[in-house]
Symmetry: D2
Subunit: 387 residues, 4 copies
């Protein structure tokens, strides 16, 4: 049995934010499948998210998406969350579902559209004050589909201007995190396609602006852990959006497609001082198109936890010695020894010792929660990712 | 001015089938933008498609998608098309939008679901008899999202069984064309992901089964013209779905992303005897998410025509001599000389000589059609791609 | 401790062929680094390969590369191998290092060059009779660098003719296996770029011709286990060339880049009846540019063994039940449960029980072999991969 | 005939630096083919490069690679160049062909190896003073092949230290340009893999440090013109290494693989003020593995010139109006109108008007230079790229 005691404090401190939209229906451009019990409003989403925390103690906060999670009174929502044992987290803006934004939002040629998009972000900041959220996360769906359609440079300059105005509104304890994405929904150019662009833009804003790294938003073959290392080194890694992919931005369960990559990423997080560091938020951003949603989120946070444990188990002293002596196979073996260690039994013990179920899936299934929501949540419109 | 007279017969013979769904709204999983004048039923789609043919003489047939284009009486639809100067073409089946198909259709573990999916195809064949269509095109959205989720082998075997039953129902003059697609909507495995799989499956059926090559359905870096060459050589290239892409299956206007690739593809078509060969159907399969739809289709058929003209202009005798002598730069130059030739003025003349407008875009704009449909098509539900 | 007894017979039967060239120096177009003790002739390569078998009992045969491993008398080489406890295996031809082959070999426009290339293969078959080898493996480096440079179709037809002549010379117990490769050394087109082309070509030859799947020879994102499944289903998977890659054809140690992918591949081998099936040869084809060579090969065969054990441990009955019921997360979990199982301690026991060292690396290091060859192999020209 | 007079000044000002190594033999890890007449020393390389300039007036300078182009007395080399009508340009360092650099140079764990690598760069700066070169171009082949092999973060920090020392030695008029490369020769991680890393590193150095963008060094699907736009916007685009690719870093003739991409890149250069801007050096960095070298370079500079002319012909006022009005197809058409314009006849006229040959290939062939060098350059060792 693996001895987790040297890393127990770090495991206990770990917190992964859940996205409210993971509990709604999601799909592809071809079809979105619905499921019984899908939440119909932000309150039900938070209730579902709280189940993940209840069985894992890993997910104490829930990220909101505005306007999907708009409510009359955020104090009520905040209290609702607290009543369920969780807190409200990052606020995500949305400038990709209004007809005005067909050709851009913060980058639009038309100042009136930019004004509207900026105002939306200012509203988000107001909401953050009500919810007690620290981070405003901005993902830009903006770009173009055809060469010549857009003025790449003008858009980049306007992006800077728009972000500057939003940044100026942040409270002292608040942050702006700017996500980048290789492509989609735009198919020729995207206004923030890579970490370099996000880094250049946030660096021009100031210390409260950081980069958000979504693990699914890179070109094929990209060494993501290298980027993690670099952003930590530059002091600009603000948050992770965890998920996994085989092809494009598949938004699969984190660690499902390439567990070894997740291990390498988490090793660089540990190496660079990013673990349980308040500057580096861990979040999920993924969909459950065909699998059950609450168990899907449980699977996700456990995947992150298990891989974090493995990353913490790397014998870094021995690794460093092997690296310094040019022992390629030796260093690789020390690194992989941690990856191939089966930490699951020890983590079950660790859960048990904290009053948590050894098997969170079985415990969730036995709880009857799924049946209850399937029965109770009849009528109304099921919430959807992307809607 | 380029002399097109040696290739005029081939230009005149060229026909490119339009997809009815290109005239409906389309988009991404994030958002579908609507436009004024979007058709609300198959009749309006065909009327729009006929405009493309009217101004280019390149698009005499329209492909249908069942059930999107279901009507009470296909004889009426057929006559409607003829009244507009076009004919009905390929029938496309759809097994990806019914809840039963969440985990597969022709490959499903459950025989009842397979039965339903097979029956849908038999119905499509019935419709083909009514519409006078020759080709049944099958694109399978089937696959899985997570390793272990599905039994890859069992699905492949069941696919063969299902296709066999459909194939057996074909009339003597009918064909089954099987499309392949690298990924999406499934993100881990797709049941017909590559030309090799489609080729193996259709070869097991018989001479009336062929491969459909969609130019957007390949892995990054794939040499598509090589596949065109190979399928023509093997006698199994049944049809093209033309479009273009920068990243995934972007479904952009054919030739918009990499015109040189389109040139190379059309050169192999010419080289392999696939041009104006009834065995090799030319079709578009693309979306117009942000651009106007009818002009978008006009742009597309002109792109195919212009690149076909360039491919026909390659001095194949000189090319062959250069190839045989190992003259790398000489052969490349002869090949590229055709690509860099500006055929547009000569094609405008050619159009004029046939009573067509020199500038189809200007003619379409001047026709007032767009304004008319925007005014007339009020109310009802706009047709959508993927809906 | 994992119980390996239910799979012990299969582990005992496993055999992985080593490539003689893995023991020579290799590198990139930029630089090849030499190492002390590198073999200078085929005899020394075989002696090195025998070390891998000595400490793992997994590598009873050694593949040859002609002309790199040409010797006066193959009976002597064969006996040399037997004296070292191994046998000679697959013969690999080479048509990419002679000036005549600059523009092709089996596909060349010039019949005289084709003749030479065909004769080389006939000579390889003669050698196979002398060495007792069953398989002739053909990898074609042929292709072109510039569009227009080559006649893709003509080359494909000539390839068929050349292969037919080679195939006709095979003895009744011999096989031809045709490898495919996405790109490199040619950068525009490759004459056998994908499994579909290899499958079409070998199917046209006959039952003794099979496909060789090199795990590093695919486009980014390709689902390789799907191809494994398909070729097994079609009865045409002749052999594996195992290695791994992050980008192009990196030729890294098998399993080093994406261990989960190797697991999925081996699961499909098991699922499709390809394990310990004489029709499906397991071979390594990789380089050790910066790491030690003999330990690099030990690492490789152990990686295959460990992942084979995991693949065999999948609870296929439970998996099948979960798949049939559409339990996505359940099926994925059953599949992954085997992947995350740490089989290493049990495999160490298994080795011990067979008189093998628990730790083959430590045993090799303790044997003093490396020091001995570094001291003895002074002078002469070190063997090189690609030279 | 296209009217080039509005852009004639810009065409006349255009200058593209040639790499001395393009005239030596190059190839892949599998084979390097030699050709008659290949230069045997830097003097012969420069003589060959001067031929390209003689027939095109586009290539007035030649980049050197140290130590490949080391000579006793750089004043003599400089005069030799001037005698041939060209000047010496950028100096490229080389830290990838010495055994000491197996595990890194500027990033090596061992201070002694770093010292050696830094000293090599200081020597390059000394040479630059002698040759009159402005730019020191640094491409780092450094990285690792296996996860765990190297300490990514430590290497990045050491890279900064090493570069700082080199930077400090630059003369006031000199610059350091740092190239990035996605992968190869390292296969797991590369120390400067992307523009973001190069940008972060050079920004930390100072105003005389800039990014070098090699058009072949990106992940599949990367929008390179976006990076061009961004680096120009940030004031950090120091130079281009032009070439083209289908797959990896193929180093093919610029514009040969995707001419439309080259057009888009050059449009952004024009748009961002990078054309004929002394801050942005145009260089070639490509190989001629199978084609003739001097004609290959002539082809390359003409490709850049032709595409520059097209980029300059874009009707930017009309484009801007279409972009502002959201006219997707209109803007795309204006953009493409320039791309599809056949500028070759007008450029032939332009050449003639400047006393240059209409057809530089024919003129070169007629000059007898190739035959002369093939006859004269017998004996000695042919220069090689990568050797």
């Amino acid at each position: 049995m693996t001895d987790l005691s040297p890393i127990a404090d770090q495991l206990t401190a770990q917190a992964i934010e859940l996205p409210s939209w993971a509990f709604g229906n999601s799909g592809t451009r071809f079809k979105v499948y619905g499921t019984p019990g899908t939440p119909r409003d932000p309150f039900e989403k938070i209730a579902d998210a709280a189940q993940v925390h209840r069985f894992t103690a890993l997910a104490p906060t829930v990220a909101l998406h505005i306007p999907w999670d708009k409510v009359e009174d955020y104090t009520v929502l905040r209290r609702h969350a607290e009543d369920h044992g969780v807190a409200l987290g990052t606020v995500n803006s949305n400038t990709f579902q209004d007809d005005d934004y067909k050709f851009g939002a913060l980058t639009h040629e038309d100042a009136a559209v930019r004004r509207k998009a900026i105002d939306h972000h200012l509203e988000c900041i107001d909401i953050m004050h009500a919810t007690g959220s620290r981070d405003l996360k901005i993902w830009l769906a903006e770009g173009s589909n055809y060469p010549g359609q857009a003025d790449l440079r003008g858009r980049q300059d306007r992006l800077h201007e728009s972000l500057s105005e939003i940044y100026a509104r942040l409270g002292d304890e608040q942050r702006l995190v700017l996500e980048y994405k290789f492509f989609e929904p735009a198919f020729y150019h995207t206004d923030v396609p890579d970490w370099g662009t996000s880094y250049a833009q946030v660096s021009a804003l100031g210390d409260q602006a950081m980069v958000c790294l979504d693990t699914g938003h890179h070109a094929p073959g990209t060494n993501i852990e290298f980027i993690v290392m670099q952003l930590l080194r530059l002091g600009k890694l603000g948050s992770f959006d965890f998920n996994s992919r085989f092809y494009a931005d598949d938004d699969l369960i984190v660690g499902a497609a390439d567990p070894f990559q997740l291990f390498r990423i988490l090793f660089e997080v540990v190496r660079g001082g990013g673990l349980n560091n308040p500057d580096v938020a861990f979040m999920l951003d993924q969909c459950h198109n065909v699998e059950e949603k609450i168990p899907g989120q449980i699977r996700s946070v456990l995947n992150v936890q298990e891989m974090t444990a493995r990353a913490l188990l790397v014998d870094r002293e021995a690794l460093s010695a092997a690296q310094q002596s040019g022992d390629v196979l030796g260093a690789h073996a020390i690194f992989n020894d941690a990856f191939y260690t089966d930490v699951r039994p020890a983590l079950a013990d660790w859960r048990e010792s904290r009053g948590l179920p050894r098997d969170p899936f079985a415990a969730y299934a036995a709880s009857g929660y799924q049946q209850r929501i399937a029965e109770e949540r009849i009528g109304g419109t099921q919430a959807g990712w992307g809607a």
